[in-house]
């Protein structure tokens, strides 16, 4: 056995943690090898120094100081931590709220989207219905259509055009009369005013003529003065229609 190997095992030998065989082997070697003996003595003295050295222990103050500092630190930091926590909560609530809003919003938007064509289609249906009534072969039904047309706004040009069409071409005087009355409600439209003037020049039914004279005077359509004067000059105009013109003409002049 080499000295080197023996010296490796010295710590175990001194601790008495080696096997019986290894122990006796080392003892045997030590009897013959002075070098190893010297080495062992050195190790022994070194370990003795280590043993003799007292363990340094921290003072009791250290712990209390540390605790104090910790408490202090906690005290200064704690409010911040709470605030942070609160802020975080608020944000998460906000997130939840936002997501709810988005979901509901999306739902409502979807519903609205599906409603829009519905509303439009209902309106279209109504318009179709009224337009169909205006073309009905029954005069009474056409009048119903004309009075239903009152509910439309001036934006429904189709309806207005259909009414003007009735005013010009309907064979039944009562339908033309009703059309004139309904059209007077759309008198802000220039095409309506034009149609009313034109109709006064062409319509031969005295009831319709009288109604037109009255409407044109009411909406202050000065361009109608000329056609009214024409009516006055026309020999075929019935006396009572002329009377109506004379009654209403001063309102326009």
């Amino acid at each position: 056995m080499k000295c080197n190997d023996i010296q490796h095992k010295f710590t175990g030998f001194l601790d008495k943690s080696l096997t019986e065989v290894a122990n006796s082997e080392i003892k045997k070697h030590l009897k013959s090898c002075t070098n190893c003996n010297q080495e062992l003595e050195e190790l022994k003295s070194f370990l003795a120094v280590l043993d003799s050295q007292e363990m340094e222990t921290p003072s009791a103050n250290l712990r209390s100081n540390f605790n104090k500092m910790l408490a202090q630190e906690i005290e200064t930091v704690t409010p911040k931590v709470i605030q942070l926590k609160l802020q975080q909560d608020w944000k998460s609530y906000l997130k939840i709220a936002a997501s709810i809003v988005i979901i509901i919003g999306a739902f409502l938007f979807g519903k609205h989207q599906s409603n829009i064509p519905q509303i439009v289609s209902i309106k279209n249906e109504n318009q179709e219905e009224v337009l169909a009534l205006l073309e009905n072969s029954s005069a009474s039904k056409r009048i119903l259509g004309v009075s239903d047309a009152e509910e439309f706004t001036k934006k429904d040009t189709k309806i207005i055009e259909a009414l003007i069409n009735r005013l010009f071409f309907d064979k039944n005087a009562n339908v033309r009369l009703a059309a004139a009355e309904t059209l007077s409600k759309f008198s802000s439209e220039i095409i309506v005013r034009d149609a009313l003037i034109k109709s006064l020049e062409t319509d031969e039914n005295s009831t319709v003529q009288i109604e037109l004279i009255r409407i044109l005077a009411k909406i202050q359509e000065k361009r109608a003065i000329e056609s009214m004067q024409k009516l006055l000059k026309n020999e075929e105009t019935p006396q009572f229609v002329k009377q109506q013109v004379e009654l209403n003409l001063p309102n326009l002049l």
């Binding site: 072969s137 029954s138 005069a139 009474s140 039904k141 009048i143 119903l144 009075s147 039944n172 005087a173 009562n174 339908v175 009369l177 009703a178 039914n205 005295s206 009831t207 009288i210 109604e211 009255r214 019935p238 009572f240 229609v241 109506q244």
Partner: protein, 264 residues
Amino acid sequence: MKKISILLLFITSILSAQKKEFKYSLSGIEKVVLASGTKIVLTAGNTSELVLTDNKKVRKNHSAHENHQKEKADKRKGLTAVYPNGRDNSNGFGFSITKEDAILYVTDLKSMYQRSGINLTLPKSINISVNAGSLGSVSLEGFTGEVEVATNTGKIEMKNVTGPITANTSVGEINVDFDKVSQTSPITISSSVSEIDVAIPANTKADLELRTQGTVYTNFDFDTPKKKGLPNVSGNKSINSKLNNGGVKIYIKSSMGNIYLRKK
């Protein structure tokens, strides 16, 4: 169709021996549009055919008249009457009858000078549209369908009707007597100068609109809205009222004549 016309010819040939009459089957017809410039009297019948008769008073058959007629008939032998407005297809009656889908157009080809009134019998529930031209008048009774009437100077008289009614005249008087008032579509009666006299059952549900520069007389209790500080209804302002909580629209307009609305 051929059979019917042959039958009709047969019937008319028999009847024309006594009284001039023309019949036309109205199967599949929903509306009759009549245009004539004479005094038109329409009667509701229970058969589904149109019966036309001249209103000419049947003169007593004295010999001179008979001879005169014979002479006329001889002159016409082999010739047919032609008219500017169409072909006579009413067996010499002077009417043009054309069918378009469910509408029958009955147009008088003779001028008003050649007529002294016509009588027509039509099915009770058929829709009628009558135009009496500028001098003709219309009188009808007992129809339950829709009735449209237009005259210029002639009188319009309707009895035992239910509506819907559309009547217009310039100068003629209008008298309408309703049995009951149909709620299907509006009733409009208008005139320029004449009086309008309408009688409706007391329990009629209606939205009334009366317009005139004359006066409205009625024995209905009107709940016209009273507005303080505003002048009474006059001139061209209209009187709107609901009868028995409202219903079909009844629009009566006379530009200058009075309106009479009676409770039956």
